[in-house]
Symmetry: none
Subunit: 207 residues, 4 copies
């Protein structure tokens, strides 16, 4: 940052890129990969289609960039709990994630759509989602290892998988159910379930 003394062109370039990404994010989160046409993005951001190709190699590259940026936004919206009792830390984390899903649902909605597709070839966009999702998996794994010291690796894998699956499923439930679904309350339940399960696993191990 700082020192922006280039002839302003650079600044405009950055701005255009951002406008394209904004438009593409909005559309892709609504209509998925195939439903996001370059013409639609062009119309929404006001730049001609050929300009989009100046900033991004192709459509796949564009959607991958969308995933990358919206993951970063989403990831910034919550942080791993630093200290406190295990149960409270878990509850706090769940609340943060629930709120992040409510506030910026683009990342998950688009990501899940990509994850569900099984297109023969296709490529970067889906891979990008899998990659950043793995990053979350790793973070949660180390957090859990700390919160519930003593669990086996297999148990941790199971718990983290179950916790992420629950988050995905609850997000979808909210998408489908709308106001009939209280996401916060359900994430609270989810956190409690995870805590209880972890404790039970430790107990059973102790015997």
């Amino acid at each position: 940052m700082a020192g922006k003394n280039q002839p302003k062109r650079r600044a405009d370039g950055e701005l255009s890129r951002t406008r394209i990404l904004d438009a593409a994010t909005e559309i892709a989160a609504e209509r998925g990969y195939e439903g996001t046409s370059i013409a639609l993005v062009s119309a929404k951001c006001g730049l001609p289609a050929s300009s989009i190709y100046w900033h991004f190699k192709n459509k796949d590259d564009l959607i991958a960039a969308v995933i990358e940026r919206s993951f970063a936004d989403w990831r910034r919206a919550w942080q791993l709990p630093a200290d406190g009792a295990a149960q409270e830390r878990l509850q706090g984390l769940a609340m943060q994630i629930a709120k992040a899903l409510l506030d910026s649902p683009d990342f998950i909605r688009l990501g899940l759509m990509l994850a569900l597709e099984r297109r023969p070839v296709e490529a970067r966009a889906r891979a990008m989602f899998i990659q950043v999702r793995t990053q979350t998996y790793v973070e949660l794994t180390s957090t859990l290892a700390e919160l519930a010291a003593g669990l086996t690796e297999a148990q941790i894998h199971q718990l983290v998988t179950y916790s992420m699956a629950g988050a995905d499923g609850l997000f979808i439930a909210k998408e489908i159910g709308g106001d009939a679904v209280d996401l916060i309350e359900l994430f609270e339940l989810h956190a409690r379930v995870l805590y209880d399960t972890a404790m039970r696993m430790l107990d059973e191990q102790a015997e």
Copy 2:
């Protein structure tokens, strides 16, 4: 076979319809709504594109029919537990559903893709998914009301929502994780979690 008591069998429209639905189901489950082109379906079922339009009003109508039929297939693959101890019945149900998801994943994969999309207009296919899903919700609600008599309506709503969300999420986890995810084991965990939660709710209520 045999014993068909239809007039004569007449040009076998029913058969063609089935062939089209088979092809469309396979493709739609892999590529979603937008990714399912009529040309692709035509190529896979061997009938020309124009014949598809004899059997279905348009693409939306076709995909809605796919959802309808594959839900019926999927629903036929499991049945609500008739009797036995509550915990066993829940475990049994969870196992059946897990297997149904593994055996005929078309319904859920396509349905979830549709559920995630937020296309401005278009509708029938998505509406059909929401509708049959609601049917499942209702069935599970009455099952749970019986299994855990004493729960409030709100609690049952929460539990059923959570159970369906878990199923969706676990399905996705399996899609993404492949062999690294043991769906059966996770569904067992899910059933146990649901049982424990229901019991806890009843306990807390008793106090």
Copy 3:
């Protein structure tokens, strides 16, 4: 007529034919030759497309039949004046034709559309219009020859052509102008103009 003792099938056949013609007339008068699709006619009359082909060889044949029947209807709505003073007879004829155009505009609207088209090949329908129109030309020619005895053939040809052109043009003016155009009044003017012109021609000839 009478004596309809055939097994009713025949009657149904006639009825179907009529229903098809009714539907086709309505559509063709609105949308012209190309705009009249067999599917549209089928939807409007309730019979399947293949039934239309049982009654008519092809689309061209159908439209030709439409022209033929609607010309007959239209022609039946007015009659050549039998006697009276020339001016009154002309006025009366003009009024009848004006009313016939207002009451059953299908024939003229469709006919003019066909007349204006210059499709390379195409065929029967347009030819049918030209044919029935010629019939009207002949009738008007002999009427005028009687009303204004003494005119040369060339003059009669000119007058009849001008009178039919006026009728066509006024019909179009009404189509475009709607309520701003008083068709009756304009036909009255047209009749007067024709009468005056015929008289003038006779005068000039007399000199």
Copy 4:
């Protein structure tokens, strides 16, 4: 040629647009709205169909542009009479219009076809014709008001409507009758009729 003061000439979009319009005009004047397929236009102008959509939003937009341009051409072919005796001015105008119709019949032929159609929705092309036609109506109205000062507004409206109807009708008569119809002679008659009628109206008013 030469003297083009546009920046550089850049890929010659203007030329392509013109080529497309030329082709579309020719075809639409022969076959009407529905008969003008994009493929036909593409074949005639040498540009691929998709390029047509770069220059025009859709088919309706293209046909509307055809109407607009061919009206302008047609309108340029005649001018309102500046001075001289009323009768001569009217005759002169009629001759000009007759020749304009013979020389560039595209505008009227296509326009009349559109005017006769009563398609449920769609519109722009037809609306454009109605609009430019109204422009002519206004011009003729003020010319007539000047040529035959003293006529009431209603009379002028009637005369202008009748004069335009006559022109339309005579054009059609020429289309149908071909060489059997002497358009020039008929327009002369038409001019005379209009003059006589205007004079008669003034006379009757004077009484």
